[in-house]
Each structure stands twice: as structure tokens, then as C-alpha cells.
Amino acid sequence: MAPNTRIILICSGKGGVGKTTLTANLGIALAQQGVKTAVLDADFGLRNLDLLLGLENRIVYTAQEVLEETCRLDQALVKHKRESNLALLPAGNPRMLDWLKPDDMQRIVSMLAEKFDYVLIDCPAGVEDGFKNAASAAQEAIVITTPEISAVRDADRVIGLLNTKSIKPIQLVLNRVRPKMIASQEMLSVNDVTDILALPLLGLVLEDEQVIVSTNRGEPLTLTGSKSPAARCYGNVARRLQGEDIPLIDPSKEGQSLRDKFRRLMATKIF
């Protein structure tokens, strides 16, 4: 295994909070910074990473054939058409779930680690075998959640499980942040969530309709050089991962209208 490869699990517990979108955008953003990055779709049951990256028509072999040794790793890797530093290792047939073991995950990840600087593992939702297999191969983790009680509760379960393994550091990404709702105290604030989960915040991602547009097209926001809020946030997460000191976006400074200012006044702590 290449000694400096970072193997990062991207997990959430709850489904639909943005694991795969983060994996795709982070993969592209890291590749753009010139580091060789592999994204591994560990969600064998419900794979989608290929779709978000727009690579669904280029898949010939998958992780399954690599494990069965019916093809070489570089035959299964799908290089991104516009970002040559990024490659996807697609998930195999859902029937893989019947026999896949932590050993298999570790084998496939160490093969990737020989060739890449970063290996991002897109973890399935849940805390069952799929999660455990994926986690067994990871060195560090990014837990992604949204400011909703069900997502935060599930994230807490996942953090508890990660803490029992030697996965370090575990960092938090807070997704789908709506500054206006936080200002009117109808959404958990960034501090509320970081206090509760007690994890260092790697970044927050503002709610952004452009994310849906980009997934429709199979072109992650970070790929198209979009100036949209979420694109900026994903870019910041990638740069922080690389060790750059980028200040966090302050959601309370996002809206500048008189109405937003009034909302912020109303949220001032008195005692």
C-alpha cells in the first residue's frame, strides 16, 4: 500500500442526506487539484455514484470481477471523461452482498491505494453489514448529515460505531443548510449540530437547487466550475481536506436584505 494514500469513508447512517453527491463532488474537486483520486461505490445494493458522475454508460467490469479475478483492476476502473485524475470503481451486482466480507473490501481498497493518493469510499446507508464492510477498509471518515433530527440521530449512531474502530479523524460535513431558516430559528444551527455530535466541522454545504440540476446532467457542480453556493462549499471541503486553511462560510451572513437582518436581530441571544 502506498504509504501516503488517504482512505476516507463517506457515511451518514440515514439515506438521502448527500453521501453520494459529496463523494462525486469531492472526487472531482480533489482531482482538479492534481491528486490522483479513486471513488469506490461501496453501495452494492443501490448504486448511484456512476450516475452522479455521468459514467453509467462506460462501465464494463466492476469491483465484483476484480474480486473474482476475472479482470484486472485497471480494466474495471472507469476514468472520468473530463477529469483524468479521477477514476470510479463501480459497485458490482447486488448479489455480491451475499458473500462480500470485510476482507474483500480491504483487498480491493488496498489495490486502489497502490495507484491513488485518495480513495473515497461511498458507504451505503444503514449500520448493517454494508456499512461494516465499507468501514473495515477505511482509515478516516467523513460523516455527512443535514440539520434534521432524524439525520442527526442516525449520524450519532454511526459516529458511535466508528469510535469503536481505529478510524481517525472523523470529521463532519453539514449538508443542505438553509441560512434563512436558521436565522428564524426554525432549523438546527451549525453550532447546535456540532455541539450535539462533538465532531470537528470539515465544512457546511448550503441548500442549492443547482445540485439537482447537476445530478440530472451527470456533471457534479465542482466539474463545471459553477459559482453556485453548493459548488463553492464542496470546493472548500476539498481544499480543507488537503490541509488548506479556509474559513467556514457563516450562514448568518448569507442573506443581506433588510428582512434577513431583522431575522438575525431576532435570533440574538439575550440570556
Binding site: 434534521e148 430559528q185 426554525e186 432549523m187 436581530l265 439575550i270
Partner: protein, 92 residues
């Protein structure tokens, strides 16, 4: 307490939903993290009250034993209002 909370109190409206969410989460996480079933917690609460009652007279209705959590550490917090101290502790 924020300006909005004060205003809401004055006009008799519910507290903001973010605060409700935070309180509900903290409670449910304290239980999730400790992995104690409600029955076990209740049994523990009754036994604790019985032990304390040997030494001081406590208000059994007001007494509360609950789980609280901060920084991923869960604490068992007992709040037992003492009515008076017993002159001679009850010993078996």
C-alpha cells in the same frame, strides 16, 4: 433565550422549532448512547430513590433521575429535593 423566544412567550406562541428539535435530540441521544432500556432506567431510578430515602426524607414525586449528554459523554443526573434529614439513618 433569544429575542424571538421572548416575543413568542409574550404573545403566547410556541417556542421556535429549532429549540424543540435540539431538546428532543438531546434527550433521545442520551438514551441511544447509554443503550439503557426505559424499564431498566426506571428500575434504577426506584432503587436509587430507596437508597437515598434511608438517609434523608425526599420528595418522591418531585425526584427525577434522568440521562443527560454532553460532548458524547452521558451522565446520570439525579435531582432529589430533600424535605428533611433523618436523625437516625434507617439501616438494615
Amino acid at each position: 433565550m433569544t429575542l424571538r423566544d421572548i416575543l413568542n412567550k409574550l404573545i403566547g406562541r410556541q417556542q421556535s422549532s429549532a429549540n424543540t428539535a435540539k431538546e428532543r435530540l438531546q434527550l433521545v441521544l442520551a438514551h441511544d448512547r447509554s443503550d439503557l432500556s426505559p424499564e431498566l432506567l426506571d428500575q434504577m431510578r426506584r432503587e436509587i430513590l430507596n437508597v437515598v430515602a434511608k438517609y434523608v426524607e425526599i420528595d418522591m414525586d418531585e425526584g427525577a433521575v434522568s440521562l443527560e449528554t454532553e460532548d458524547r459523554m452521558t451522565a446520570l443526573v439525579a435531582n432529589l429535593p430533600i424535605k428533611r434529614t433523618l436523625k437516625t439513618p434507617i439501616t438494615e
